[in-house]
């Protein structure tokens, strides 16, 4: 065999071997994957079985403790006997699930006594630092132990998700401790290089009123792009605080950075929005200093965003002191300020602003017109009456269309048609219908013609009105009615069809 042939033969033999061994390797890895899957299934099943059993075993003991019928020392003594991981996890879940504002301090004490808090702190901050923090937390010092930044290289590594997820989960657990005890850990976690960890800390501070300055500082650094925690996450934490705590927002409302001022004010708006779902707010609910800033500084702020948010917040005063400010903001040069002012004024306390709100129906911006129509609806009878008046009087096509849109969406038009039967405001109803026909907004009216709920006289009148500008939909309705024996409706429908159908060819898709 010539040497070249031998070389080729050897190469091919090597490739065959390589392919063979690669195939063996892949099959072995596949087999290992399968074994791992089976092992994991088995181990997880065993783990959850034991955890369920432990949960059942300790549920009543933990419940007694949570309800206060079992002393901390006794609970700690009994639960300390537990050694297995599933049982420990079951107890942790039971305690965290049962923790509420009433028992959080006792639960925290127990979590410390059983070593859970120590374990989370060790996972989050390392053994040495955790020991310092726990000591400080036990003494209830409530403040951090001074800045301690690790080396730059180490911070870069710790920033990686691979290393930070475990810490983030530990911080999440620490945030479930009583606010006073948790704060020291969370404050420390805010300096962590891992974004997930800081995020967990920020969200954990949401139930701690003393942490508002910390959160506002996070917000400021995020605005100034020195912090990669999202603004939404920080605001999510801020909005859970209560009205008396708004006092702490005062420095932020007068800060030099307009975006920071805006976000702080927006957080106040969201606090108000949340609380107003439970009870009606009044000017007295706001701290005096904040009230003063809103009325005399934020309403005249150079930033339109701040003025817009100021309108939304000040509207929660629900008294006459807000009226001049809102009136001024309703006429603001900036469309977004007007928009937010209009949106905010839908409260009986601001009925005297109805003329200004009505004026916004003819605003050059559609969002403002839309908001004005909605706000007027929200005033109930006086607002709707005003809306009808403007709808009938205005020569502004856009304003009329916007009102027509809202009347349909909110069911006001249906209610108006129903009123025809009662005969209370027939003249207004008919005028509105004629205006709607003029605008080609006739779908609901056409359906009303087909509906037997409306008295025949009104249906006949509507048919005549609609025949002035017949849409394809109306013609379809007429065709259906002409087939019925519903007299005198069917006869009139037939007659109208005879009159309109020759011209119908030119009416294609007008209704669209």
């Amino acid at each position: 065999m010539p040497p070249e042939a031998t070389a080729v033969y050897l190469l091919l033999e090597n490739i065959t071997l390589l392919a063979f061994w690669l195939l063996v390797a892949v099959l072995s890895i596949n087999a290992a994957f399968l074994v791992f899957i089976l092992y994991r299934r088995g181990s997880r099943r065993r783990y959850y079985k034991r955890k369920d059993a432990s949960r059942q075993q300790f549920a009543s003991l933990v419940n007694h403790f949570l309800q206060g019928s079992l002393k901390l020392e006794d609970a700690a003594y009994q639960l300390r006997q537990v050694r297995s991981r599933p049982a420990k996890d079951a107890i942790q879940d039971l305690l965290l699930k049962g923790s509420d504002d009433g028992n959080v301090v006792r639960v925290t004490e127990l979590l410390f006594a059983l070593g859970y808090a120590d374990r989370w702190a060790r996972l989050a901050f390392g053994r040495k630092r955790a020991a310092q923090l726990i000591r400080s937390s036990r003494l209830n010092q409530g403040r951090a132990l001074g800045l301690k930044l690790r080396g730059r290289g180490l911070r870069r590594i710790r920033r990686r998700k691979l290393f930070s997820v475990k810490r983030a989960v530990a911080v999440y657990h620490l945030s479930r401790l009583a606010p006073g005890r948790a704060r020291i850990f969370l404050e420390e976690a805010l300096r962590d290089p891992g974004q997930d960890v800081r995020l967990a800390a920020v969200l954990g501070l949401r139930s701690d009123s003393a942490a508002i300055p910390l959160l506002l500082e996070e917000l400021r650094t995020a605005v100034e792009e020195q912090n990669d925690v999202s603004l939404r996450a920080i605001r999510s934490a801020l909005v859970w605080h209560e009205m008396p705590e708004l006092q702490q927002f005062a420095p932020a409302l007068t800060h030099g950075n307009p975006r920071y001022r805006f976000l702080a004010l927006d957080s106040i708006r969201q606090i108000c929005e949340r609380i107003s779902k439970e009870r009606s707010l009044q000017a007295a609910d706001f701290p005096a200093q904040v009230r003063h800033i809103l009325q005399h500084e934020a309403a005249q702020d150079s930033s339109a965003d701040v003025r817009a948010r100021c309108a939304a917040v000040i509207a929660y005063f629900h008294d006459t002191s807000a009226v001049p400010v809102l009136r001024q903001l309703l006429r603001d040069e900036n469309e977004f300020v007007r928009l937010h002012a209009v949106r905010s004024t839908g409260h009986p306390a601001y009925q005297e602003l109805i003329p200004e709100i009505s004026a916004c129906l003819t605003d050059s911006r559609w969002r403002v017109r839309e908001a004005a129509a909605r706000t007027l609806m929200s005033f109930g009878h006086p607002g709707v009456e005003n809306l009808f008046r403007i709808f009938l009087d205005t020569s502004d096509q856009y304003a009329a269309e916007q009102v027509a849109d809202e009347m349909q969406r909110n069911g006001v038009l249906n209610a108006l048609l129903a009123e025809l039967n009662s005969g209370t405001s027939v003249a207004v109803c008919r005028a509105v219908c004629i205006r709607l026909v003029g605008l080609n907004k006739t779908s609901i009216l056409s359906d009303a013609v087909a509906s037997s709920e409306l008295a025949p006289a009104h249906r006949l009148w509507l048919m005549d009105a609609l025949s002035a500008h017949p849409s394809r939909h109306f013609l379809d309705v007429l065709r259906e009615l002409a087939k019925t024996r519903d007299e005198p409706i069917s006869t009139r429908a037939g007659a109208l069809l005879q009159r309109l159908v020759p011209a119908a060819g030119t009416l294609e898709v007008r209704h669209a």
Binding site: L22, V229, L231, I444
Partner: protein, 479 residues
């Protein structure tokens, strides 16, 4: 001539082997990255929960846009499932794209809708709607009727009508898990920069049991074709996309369930009607627009928001679907070919786009050619056994590793299949799909590429039978 032919085979086979080596190398890298990121995400997500997003007043409203064309069998269930979604503030816009069946009537009847003449402002180009339907009892639901203009056109109409800052595209035959929208929104809420797209996972509903628009029992389909697709979906969504996402190079998000920032989507002109895969096209457009503007942005993909969809039941329907996907991919990579190896687009331009253009798009033709030529070369004696074995290893053996690995990753993170029998079957099909199924799909994909070059760029409809999942009405409909 004979010698020329052998030399041609030689060169071609070399190109094919290089292609397989390159493709498998990339897949391996993606596998390791995904193993790392998906496991970590699952670990963290399991602890943090989503109540903070659900409770927060800061969570932005979302418009769910459902384009529907002849979906009478499933549309009511889909809308019911959307109404039941766990999300603080949402609006649902169903766009009936010129259906010939009773899609519209079903909706009107079920939700007692009333025809209205609403204001429609065209911010992105779309066919003008014919009629709007809503109800003061359910103001969050609006149904729009329009002439048939394709999915992209229907989505544009929905965008024009949406009032929320974000919108989510939802296929009419898809079932969204109750918390999925919250999970999709979580990276948006927690991102320090504007997240313009957030994509989730699509899973196959065939074999599952549905009740009131919700998956109540997860099972595997009975037929081999659908089972192979289950494994294929797991591999794609667990390995490919998370890998690219972690590099900040997401190029594909599934339009069946995808959250988008409305204002940015409007700025790029919405969905392009000429594209047969409007979702891929829009993502590429967004990348280009935002890079051009120099704005900071995020396009994310998460593995826990899950949407269930029906997979094709027959080979012919599978062929239509894959040809269309491949054609759409070709349209996008060819239109945006200046992004390939363009450092201005970062890892998207340097890694993701070249991968999608050369390996995923054009590579399918090379792969299909290899599937024919290499065995042919071996049987006529033009290729030694050793090389043939190496090819078999690269084409089949290594594929099993990736597929079984993805099943493993799924099992250790999402764990949606509860029974051990399911997992064993998935592992079995992870091996089986590499022999026959994968090659068949490669041929369909290659057809898609060739259709692009030969100018046959039409949308091919996939007819779903509705028989995929128990609890669905079993009459044919189109998507």
């Amino acid at each position: 001539m004979h010698e020329f032919f052998l030399r041609f085979l030689d060169y071609t086979n070399t190109v094919i082997l290089i292609y397989f080596l390159a493709a498998n190398s990339v897949y391996t890298v993606l596998m390791f990255i995904s193993l790392y990121t998906v496991s970590l995400h699952a670990k963290y997500a399991a602890h943090k929960g989503y109540t903070a997003v659900l409770d927060s007043p800061v969570t932005p409203p979302v418009a769910l846009i459902v384009p529907a064309h002849n979906e009478e069998r499933v549309i009511v269930q889909t809308v019911l499932s959307l109404l039941a979604l766990n999300y603080p503030e949402k609006e649902i816009i169903v766009v009936d794209d010129g259906s010939n069946d009773s899609t519209l009537d079903r909706l009107i009847e079920q939700f007692e809708l009333q025809r209205m003449d609403l204001i429609y402002r065209e911010q992105v180009k779309a066919t003008a709607p014919l009629a709007f339907f809503s109800s003061s009892q359910r103001p969050e639901l609006i149904v729009v009727s329009k002439p048939n203009g394709g999915k992209a056109d229907a989505l544009n109409v929905g965008m024009n009508l949406a009032r929320s800052p974000y919108f989510c595209t939802v296929d009419a035959d898809s079932i969204i898990e109750r918390d999925a929208l919250l999970r999709l929104m979580t990276p948006v809420v927690q991102s320090a920069v504007n997240t313009v797209v957030s994509g989730g996972i699509v899973r196959i509903v065939n074999g599952c049991r549905l009740e009131h628009g919700e998956v109540v029992e997860i099972d595997l389909p009975k037929r081999w074709l659908e089972r192979c697709q289950v494994v294929e979906y797991i591999r794609t969504f667990m390995f490919g996309r998370p890998g690219w996402n972690s590099m900040g190079a997401t190029f594909i998000t599934s339009g069946a369930f995808c959250l988008l920032h409305r204002e940015t989507a409007v700025l790029v002109g919405g969905f392009r009607r000429e594209s047969v895969t409007e979702d891929i096209d829009l993502v590429a457009n967004l990348h280009r627009f935002l890079r051009d503007k120099g704005w900071k942005y995020n396009i994310v993909f998460s593995t826990d928001p899950i949407c269930w969809t029906e997979a094709p039941h027959s080979v012919s329907m599978l062929a239509r679907q894959r040809r269309r996907w491949q054609l759409g991919l070709m349209q996008t990579v060819m239109r945006d070919n200046d992004m390939i190896f363009n450092p201005r687009f970062g890892s998207l331009g340097m890694f993701s786009m070249p991968f999608h253009a050369y390996i995923e798009a054009i590579g399918s033709v090379v792969e299909a050619a290899g599937t024919i030529l290499i065995p042919f070369s071996f049987f006529i004696g033009a290729m030694p056994l050793a090389l043939f074995l190496l090819f078999v290893f690269l084409a089949v053996g290594y594929g099993t590793l990736l597929s079984v690995g993805s099943v493993l990753l799924h099992e250790t993170t999402l764990r949606r299949y509860p029974k051990l029998k399911h997992v064993l079957l998935l592992v079995l099909y992870a091996v089986i799909e590499n022999v026959g199924y994968k090659q068949m799909v490669t041929f369909f994909r290659a057809q898609g590429v060739l259709r692009y070059f030969f100018g046959r760029r039409k949308w091919e409809y996939v007819v779903h039978t509705g028989k995929g999942a128990t609890g669905r009405v079993a009459v044919a409909h189109e998507t």
